[in-house]
Symmetry: C2
Subunit: 340 residues, 2 copies
């Protein structure tokens, strides 16, 4: 019998909770027999939502949580005080190895703090980065860090590069992944103080394939597999990706409805266009794992709908099978132990 | 008779120099009678290029420059040593008020350094920012700073906000322009150290309409008229705008050619799509002025073609007529004199 992968899902987090979260969980277990989901949140609410779906009952269970952490709450305080919140309960289940992973669309701050404080870092990992895959012309690239550590130091970025390299190699299957640092010019002497200090550290890293600077213009072309940046820059890149894709599609659609001729054309191209755009939809690639923890924690977008929740749950099976955090621990944690 | 606007153009700078630069200058003078262009560069080369076009001879003259500054050269050294370069000559013409503006597609570093060292800052202006207009769903927004001052301080950003406000009011004609700071969350307590320190300064500014933080996702929707950020972030935004627009169009085009049905549709939508995309083409909005200098210096993209050169030249007429630097001087320079 195939090994079961146990995934705890925060049923209370995100703009579309609990309905879309629960729907996504149902879709995931229907698609993959080896997944067992534990929905964490108000039991009554979840039971009611679940009653609307048919699904294999042995694959979903509920863990009651009487509290929820709101997005606006200061994360450190919230994690400390709200012991009965879905996020704290989920993190504890991962820490206790009761669950293989925890997924939340809730407060980013609380997930980041909870991951570090409750689940805990791998020894030797300085700052666990948040690392989503983003679509490019050639496939996907890993954006690391996209929101966990603002005002990071050069040594953190160098570690992100190594963590990202391991991720792309084992989870995505890219041989000798190309690692580049986001910069405002291609030359080595360009950049801000952080990039200038990080650059030589990356050049020295023997276990990565460092290809130099990457300008933001080249990111969508897929010029690098691992895109290293500090969290502020990474967050700007991720969110501009989202916003600009939406806006351009909106502008294109408006253009298509401007003349009768183009309206007819629009009907003809609709199926092909839809298929193409799907490949460029960031949400199709699941959530962003908080890498370098002793357990698996995945943050998904606050606006996630069922499709994203389902993708993130299924992605956790790969993370679990590939033992991504184990590999980070073995490749980086140990070698950097002395630096802790 | 209408007043002439004298614009010096670096004929040697950029990937497509001198041909596209000269073509753009010819197109500009043919469109606007009040423009007089001075092309700076190797006289023989320019004369040869010009001989391919017909244009009103009295609107274009040549100023010989025997040197050119290359993109890879360290800018401070290049500006100091290459006195006979097109950039240094052009900057000096602006400084001497011989010309009303200088436009270059050459080395960004040299243009930024030359602007400050040769043309000079308005008294009271701490760091002249580079500020291009970017297209949005609602029109255009000003991105300030997009590349001049990496590792800027909070007081610099606060000044960018005020400079940008004046620009949008007088050059673009936006009443009470909305000013926002790029951040990784909407709440005031979010952000990196720079943003957290800048935020209260912006709230205190009485002469701007500060609306708070803007996430990168909202930028293409046109949620703010003036988008304040430090140069590294601004450069990432500007270049991702370019790269992502190109990539998405490329992906859409590929999708359209995937089936026979969509190929027919593509033919029908082509004219409407082209028209729409034109409104979202960053190059249509001319160059980025280096604001807060005692003269007008405009940087255009290294890959600029004739259309962009033409637009930038014509845009200089507006800058000149609106006396943008005069207004910055009167509104900010004087009030901040004591801080110099």
């Amino acid at each position: 019998m195939q090994e079961k992968v146990k995934i705890a899902v925060d049923a209370m987090g995100g703009d579309n909770a609990p309905h879309e979260i629960i729907k996504g969980a149902v879709e995931a277990v229907k698609e993959r027999k080896e997944i067992q989901v534990c929905l964490i949140g108000k039991r009554e609410l979840i039971t009611h939502e679940l009653s609307q779906f048919s699904y294999p009952k042995d694959q979903i269970r509920i863990e009651h949580a009487q509290e929820a952490i709101e997005t606006a709450e200061p994360p450190v305080l919230a994690i400390r005080k709200k012991k009965q919140s879905s996020i704290v309960i989920g993190m504890n289940m991962v820490k206790q190895k009761e669950m293989d992973a925890f997924i939340s669309a809730g407060s980013s701050g609380a997930v980041l703090v909870g991951g570090q404080v409750i689940v805990g870092r791998i020894k030797g990992i300085e700052r666990p980065p948040l690392a989503p895959l983003i679509p490019t012309e050639k496939g996907v690239s890993l954006l690391i860090d996209c929101g966990a550590n603002v005002d990071a130091r050069p040594s953190h970025l160098a570690q992100f590069a190594r963590i990202g390299s391991i991720y792309m190699k084992y989870v995505v299957g890219v041989k000798n992944p190309k690692v580049a640092i986001v910069n405002i010019g291609a030359e080595e002497e360009k950049g801000n103080a952080l990039v200038k200090e990080t650059y030589p550290l990356l050049k020295e890293c023997k276990d990565i394939n460092f290809t130099g600077s990457i300008e933001a213009r080249e990111i969508p072309h897929g010029e690098a597999d691992v895109i290293v940046c500090e969290a502020f820059t990474g967050n700007v890149i991720l969110k501009l990706y989202e916003g600009l894709s939406q806006t351009l599609l909106h502008v294109v659609k408006k253009g298509l409805l401007s003349t009768l001729r183009s309206k007819i054309g629009a009907l003809l191209i609709k199926p092909a266009l839809k298929e193409t755009m799907k490949s460029f939809d960031a949400s199709a690639y699941g959530g962003a794992p908080l890498l370098g923890l002793t357990g698996l924690v995945v943050k998904i977008h606050g606006s996630s709908k069922a499709a994203e929740v389902k993708n993130a749950i299924i992605q956790c099976v790969t993370f679990h099978e590939q033992e991504i955090n184990e590999k980070i621990k073995n490749n980086i944690g140990n070698s950097d132990k002395g630096k802790e």
